[in-house]
Structures are given as structure tokens and as C-alpha cells.
Subunit: 243 residues, 2 copies
DNA sequence: TCCTATAGTTAGGTATACCTAATTTGGAAG
DNA sequence: CTTCCAAATTAGGTATACCTAACTATAGGA
């Protein structure tokens, strides 16, 4: 006479943070909802590639639970609760540690880091997180130049992307810059960016060409000059150096 | 006027192999449904901790798809199709490679391998699989002594657990044995098994004690004698050595 | 052979996380 | 102060993967 421990599986999914919830929290964090400002349903829907109605639904659930992950008021947008912020930063930490690990230990090509990390970040255990962090010597920066949140769920000092960094695409006039960070989202750009020797911390000289739409760019290492498209320049953040 | 690439997420889940499907395939493989013999709905339900009705439902879907993963006939049980067998072995390969990787590269304690691998096996990419396999030197055996299926989706020569291996619990009389493999499922047993020095490939002498219910066991390395409970002896497979 | 117990199936329902379409709201512009 | 529009919400529906309860089929014992 089996008792039948059925509906275990169901329960597991019901309680814990799902992949989907993680992605909502990350999106809110990304859009600025970790501070005072509230994030708009439309913006969230856009970032998540989901209908606005779905966002409203999900937020109502997240806000209405016993330990809410977000603060949400009808028609007034959302922001993260402190629990929500903690979880969001944990997932970001996972993402960036995994990227660093794949790059340094498993020799992944840079343009494949994001996709793999995006999947795995939701499923690794506390132990896995700690072991790879230890193996890597507790890094503070990932291969794209982004800060890795601490184990305690906070952004470390000297956060990257730095507040004062700007998009390479928004640079006005010529000058010398330090490369702050590179967006990890567009695999295609990453290929050409790496090919130019553009890497976080490197120096870079810009001379805007009148003729082409792009950027003439010289990195420290090679003294070659590369032409970057406007497209690609939107994936690179830089900090201007004093002359 | 946004076109809205909504229902992408939905579609992604709909097509691909889900975690759940993987687990059904693995269970059928484990229960012997890779060969001629058919597996019973009840056995599957038991192994998956799911109601028999749920199994019937799932199998109908798996059998009815354009590229069926199982062969299923009402009231006559189920077995894997060749595509299903390939996928099942791929997942097992993932599982065992991940365990080996966690053990050798990330220094996981042996009793925590299974749980982490069980989660991650569904989500790693082809590339991840290949990179860790390469890093480990394309191992053929995992830390529990189980064969790792090949990249082509086949069990290698000299399969482990070996056909002729038996449970330590089923050993009749005294003798000397080679340890074939150890079940990875019970974390608690694994602790005490490792503490005895029981490890795949090691030699082991058994003397059954009349008094206790357990086994008196001496491994090659230490000349200490350990008492193993009947419980734990059911997690160890051995092959008898000629005297 | 028949008949019942057990295995398997069907029917109907839950929760998640999406969708579209219809409706409501709130703030900016006249 | 009203109007109107974009943003947000509600209502109702889909698919997945589970469940329970009720029904059916099959195989083995009398």
C-alpha cells in the first residue's frame, strides 16, 4: 500500500524561485528599479519580450506573496523589494561568475559566454557558485568588464560599468579613452570588437571620420587603426582620459 | 507600432526537449526499455514519483509526435525509439561528465555530485559538454564507476556497471571482489562508503558475520575492517575474483 | 471458463506562464 | 475642466505537466 509521494515535483516548482521570476527581477534591476525610481510595465514587457498583460499578472503575484520580491502599485510601476534586489544580484553574480569561468577555465570564445550563462545562472547551487568563485580567485570583474556582485548581494566599490562611463557611440570629438566595459548581448558585435583588440581596461584613441558613418579607433596594443560601425560602437562603454 | 516578438518564450519551451521529457527517457532507459523489453507504466510512475495517469499522458504525447521518442502501445508498456535512446544516453553522458567535472575540477565532496548533476544535465550545451570532456581527457568512467556514454550516444566497450556485477548485499559466502561501481543516489550512504575506502576498481574482502546483520569488509588500502549495514551494501556492486 | 485484482486509461481539474482583445485610468494638451 | 490617448488592467483562452477519481482491460487463479 504505497502512500505515493506524488505532487512533490509540483510543489518544488511552486515554492522556489523559477527561471521566469529570476528574469523579471533581473530586468527590473537592469531598468533601474533597484533604487527609488519605479520601472514601467511597458519597459519591462519590452525587455522581456513579453506582452504587457503578462507583466501585470506576474507582478501582482510577486507583490502579493507572503515575502514579496517587488513593490508594485496599480498604474504606478514597480521596483524591487530588498529581498528582490538580493535575489536579482545573486542571479547577476551567477551570470558573471559563470561567464568568467567559461572564459578562463573552459576557453570559451567570448561571443558564446552570454547564452550559456543566461541558461545556467538559474540552476547552479550555492556550492557551485562558491567553488567556481574560489577557483577563479574571487574575481571582481567579468570578461566584459562588468562588476561581479559580492556574495552578500551587493555591488562592489568602483562599480562597472562606471557611473561616468559613456557609450563609444556617444563620444563627441576626438580623444583618448579607457575601455570600461562591453555589452555581452550581441554575439556578432563581440567578434569584431575582440578582433580590434578592444578589451576592458585597454586604452583607445578615437578620431571621428567625416566621410564614413563609423569610428576610427586605435587600441594600445596594436597600432593598427580599425573602423567601427555605429552599430558596434553602441556596445562599448568608455571613460574619457584627461589629455 | 511594435510587431512584438511575443510568444517566443512559449515557442522555445514547446519545441525542444524539456527537463521533464529528459527524465522520462532516462527512467525508461534505466528500467531496461532501451532493448526489446518494454517498461511498465507502474514502474515508470514509481521511479519518477508521479501518478500512473501522468505517465500514460506523457507517453501518449511522446509517442504521437512527428519524431517519436518512444514506442508505446496501450496496455503493452513502452520502450525507447532510437531517437529516444540517443537522447537518453546524451543526458546520461551529461550527468556523468558533470559529476566527473565537479569531482575532479571543483573538488566537490562525493555525496553532492548527484544532486547538482541531476539539475544541470538538462541545461548544458553541446559546447559545454565537449569542453569539460576535453578538460578531463575524455574519461570513460565517472567517480561512481559508471561508464560515460560516448559522444555518438552509445555505451562504450566494457560497460559499467558490468553485466556480471552483483550487489554486495547479494553476495553469498565469503570471498574477494573488485568493486565495480557505487550507486550515486543515496548521499548518506556515499559518505560512509567513501569512509571505508570503497572506491571503484579497489579490491575488497568480505567475511559475513553470523552475529550482526551487516558485512565485515576489508579494502586493499587500509587493512582495517569495517562493518557495513545491509542498507549500504545495496548501493555497492562487485565482481567476484577467482581465488 | 469465468472472474476478480491489478494495471492502465480516460475524464475532469489545478497551477504556471504565456497570449489577445476589451476595458479602464490617469495625466498632458487643448 | 474636459477630452483623449497611451499605458495599464481585466477577462478569457492556450499549452505544459501534474493531480484525483472513476472506469476498463488483461492476465492469472479458482
Amino acid at each position: 500500500m504505497e502512500t505515493g509521494d506524488h505532487n512533490m515535483a509540483a510543489r518544488r516548482r511552486t515554492n522556489g524561485n523559477t527561471e521566469s521570476v529570476d528574469n523579471y527581477l533581473k530586468a527590473i534591476l537592469y531598468l533601474g528599479g533597484a533604487e527609488e525610481s519605479r520601472v514601467t510595465i511597458k519597459a519591462l514587457a519590452g525587455r522581456l519580450s513579453v506582452a504587457p498583460a503578462s507583466v501585470t499578472n506576474m507582478l501582482q503575484k510577486l507583490a502579493g506573496s507572503p515575502a514579496p520580491l517587488v513593490e508594485y502599485e496599480r498604474h504606478r510601476g514597480v521596483r524591487l523589494s530588498s529581498a528582490g534586489k538580493r535575489r536579482a544580484l545573486e542571479v547577476v553574480r551567477h551570470h558573471r561568475l559563470i561567464e568568467t569561468f567559461l572564459y578562463q577555465v573552459l576557453d570559451y570564445p567570448i561571443e558564446e559566454l552570454h547564452e550559456e550563462a543566461e541558461r545556467l545562472e538559474h540552476f547552479i547551487s550555492e556550492r557551485f557558485e562558491q567553488r567556481i568563485a574560489a577557483k577563479l580567485g574571487n574575481p571582481r570583474i567579468d570578461p566584459h568588464g562588468h562588476s561581479i556582485p559580492t556574495m552578500e548581494g551587493e555591488m562592489p566599490e568602483g562599480e562597472r560599468p562606471a557611473r561616468e562611463s559613456i557609450l563609444l557611440a556617444d563620444v563627441v570629438g576626438d580623444g583618448t579613452f579607457v575601455i570600461d566595459s562591453i555589452s555581452d548581448r550581441d554575439a556578432h558585435s563581440l567578434r569584431s570588437i575582440e578582433a580590434c583588440g578592444i578589451t576592458p581596461g585597454a586604452r583607445l584613441r578615437v578620431r571621428k571620420s567625416a566621410s564614413s558613418e563609423g569610428y576610427s579607433v586605435r587600441t594600445g596594443r596594436s597600432s593598427k587603426v580599425f573602423d567601427l560601425s555605429r552599430e558596434v560602437a553602441r556596445d562599448v562603454r568608455v571613460v574619457r582620459l584627461p589629455k
